[in-house]
Each structure stands twice: as structure tokens, then as C-alpha cells.
Amino acid sequence: MNDLVSIVIVSHSMDIAKGTADMVRQMVGSEVKVAFCGGDPDGGLGTNVGRIMDAINDAWSSKGVAILVDLGGAETNSEMAVEMLEPERRQRVVVCNAPIVEGAVMAATEAAGGSSLEQVKAVAEELSAG
């Protein structure tokens, strides 16, 4: 189905990115598309703008893509990746201000119900709201 918001997970660690994606698939199901990326090409920690763009394009849904990130560079590189997307896609991608694991599970749960990108982001961010 292409009418659900998709989720992209960006961590400094490939293990965390993959583990978070596994949790989403097992807890929420496979109807919501999930892509992930993390780590540098040498197997170390890091995030990479090109890989984030690839993950967004892999997960692409016309309804939008919500990105969950871990620390610092994951967020700035994700924002950069969004800026570098084709203009018509850029408007339908958001970076959520939420804890990566909890945010991903909650965002995917909301997305599975057919919610809009704005609603999905709001639910992911409920945890960080004061």
C-alpha cells in the first residue's frame, strides 16, 4: 500500500538503525514501509547524507515520510538530505523531534491507521512535548 506515511530511521549505528526497524516491523506490522541507514562505510559510527537520501527514496510514499534520528549529526545530516531531495518530495518529508525507538514505533502505529504526515509527526513528538 502506498497510501500510508513511511518511516525512515537514521542512527549513527547500523545495529541500532536495523534493530529499531525490526522493532517497528514486529510490533506494528509490515504495512508501513520502513527504511533505515546508519554507520559509515568502514563499519564505524556515523551518518551519511547520500545514504539518508537513498533511504528516503526507498521508503517513499506519496503520503509522506517521517524520519526518526538519534544524536546531533543524524539530525543535521537528515535535514541536509531533505534539502537535497527533488523539490516535490522535499515538502512531504519531516524530521521528528522524538526518541528514535519510541518515536519510530509510535509514528508507525499512527501511520498504520492512515493518518497524515502532520499527525504522525505530532504523535512521535508527544513523548518530547513538555
Binding site: 509490515s30 504495512e31 502505529t109
Partner: protein, 113 residues
């Protein structure tokens, strides 16, 4: 007025119409209580209905929105809690029956919706 009633083991599952609300009660048998996985399942199921659906555990003062995964997870209802469900709207009856069944059946895995 009781509109539906089943017995599973010693646990009474009950739904009733109470003014404009349809309400139901069910015992939470899940070994770890209302943790993340059951909370996700309950929320996903609740979202399939148009009705406004609220739940509470163990007669807590506040009802929470059953369609909010963050709030359902935050319930932290332990095993053997009584979960109460109330719904308002055209499909409220179906919603309460489905949610009571989900909890009573101990949150079975279901196919993709």
C-alpha cells in the same frame, strides 16, 4: 442493558449500552500487562473505528484516548487489571466488542490489516 455477554474461564466479558456510550469491561490477562506490544495492537485496532473510544484501567479517575499509542502505553496497567472501554459513535458497539475480544484473547497476532 446488557447487549452482549460471554464467559471465558472465570472472567466475565461484558458490553452494555449506557446512555449514548457503549461500554465494556475485560480483565487484562497478558503476562506483562499493558506493555508496548499490546498497546500498539490495541491502538491500531481502535483506529479502525470511527467512534470516539476511551479506556481506563482499574477505575482510574481519567479516561484516555484509546487511539493515542503514547497514552495507551503510559497506562502501564498490570496483569489482572480490569480494563474498561467506552465508545461513542455509530460503530461504537462493534468497537467495544472488538477491543474486549482483543484483550480477552490476550492480544493475538493477526494478519496485515
Amino acid at each position: 442493558m446488557a447487549v452482549g455477554r460471554t464467559m471465558i474461564g472465570q472472567d466475565m466479558l461484558e458490553t452494555s449500552a449506557n446512555g449514548p456510550f457503549v461500554t465494556g469491561k475485560v480483565r487484562l490477562e497478558h503476562a506483562v500487562g499493558m506493555h508496548a506490544r499490546p498497546a500498539v495492537k490495541l491502538t491500531k485496532l481502535a483506529k479502525r473505528f470511527q467512534a470516539q473510544i476511551s479506556i481506563r484501567a482499574s477505575e482510574a479517575a481519567d479516561w484516555i484516548n484509546a487511539k493515542s499509542v503514547a497514552k495507551v502505553m503510559a497506562l502501564r496497567a498490570p496483569r489482572n487489571s480490569i480494563i474498561e472501554i467506552k465508545a461513542l459513535g455509530e460503530d461504537a458497539q462493534a468497537a467495544v466488542v472488538a477491543l474486549v475480544d482483543l484483550v480477552a484473547a490476550d492480544f493475538p497476532d493477526v494478519g496485515p490489516s
